[in-house]
Homo-oligomer: 159 residues x 2
Amino acid sequence: MEQNFTIQSIGRVRCERTEPIDDNWDAFPSTIELDRARFGHEALLGLESFSHVEVLYVFDQVRDEEITATARHPRGRTDWPKIGIFAQRGKGRPNRIGATICTVVSVEGTELRVRGLDAIDGTPVIDIKPVMSGFQPRGPFKEPDWAWEIMQGYWVTPG
Amino acid sequence: MEQNFTIQSIGRVRCERTEPIDDNWDAFPSTIELDRARFGHEALLGLESFSHVEVLYVFDQVRDEEITATARHPRGRTDWPKIGIFAQRGKGRPNRIGATICTVVSVEGTELRVRGLDAIDGTPVIDIKPVMSGFQPRGPFKEPDWAWEIMQGYWVTPG
């Protein structure tokens, strides 16, 4: 039933943050450097006409024993409910893939500068996709309280 | 520089559409069946309190020779500009990963029913993430004209 795929990094994150801290990610602008052995500037052609990109990357510092296949309290907070790993966005997940929407700052050759990428220096990037209005959530939106609370301070430290 | 990762499917898409057609995806409700050898219902616990999920999957029917590493006209339309593969969402991309936000219809054990998943029957799923308001695009939004035009008819056929 299960099927394996080999994924190759297409580039790497360069930023000042070297430790995985849970909050205040907007403080650190990031550069995604494409692997120049495989990609030229054409691969990013036209990306500057989008305000936002989605970056797929690998949480490569997460160890096997940190991976959850069942449910757990987000961030270990027992005041929040136990939540299935596919109903939360924690990094200790099967396949270790992160997906984050960032603001495009600039495109320079094979380098893409962004703001709001929650990945530390050296993180392998496996895809970049433009954010299109047609791929945004459609219809009524809802989320549980914990999902709202967990994001307070995630991008910008309050106060 | 480049780094390889092995990804395992966590489940599979079941739906009526068996051919990759570009439009009218909302006509086909889909079920994501988790691999029951590895996952129980706990993996989806709490997902029904979200209206939307992001599904990461592999375009496993795309052949090597269909992969672009440079730029091309989206859908081959020469009336649209040439666009870098990382500035478009076409399936012939390095690593063949698709990422789509769908509406949650229901969660039943290890089965997740969704609407608006643009993946054909049998497609391997590699991750499921809840859509949180805090991970939506922040700040002013822009996209080029072709990105808006390409989505007309993608979910629902006009007229």
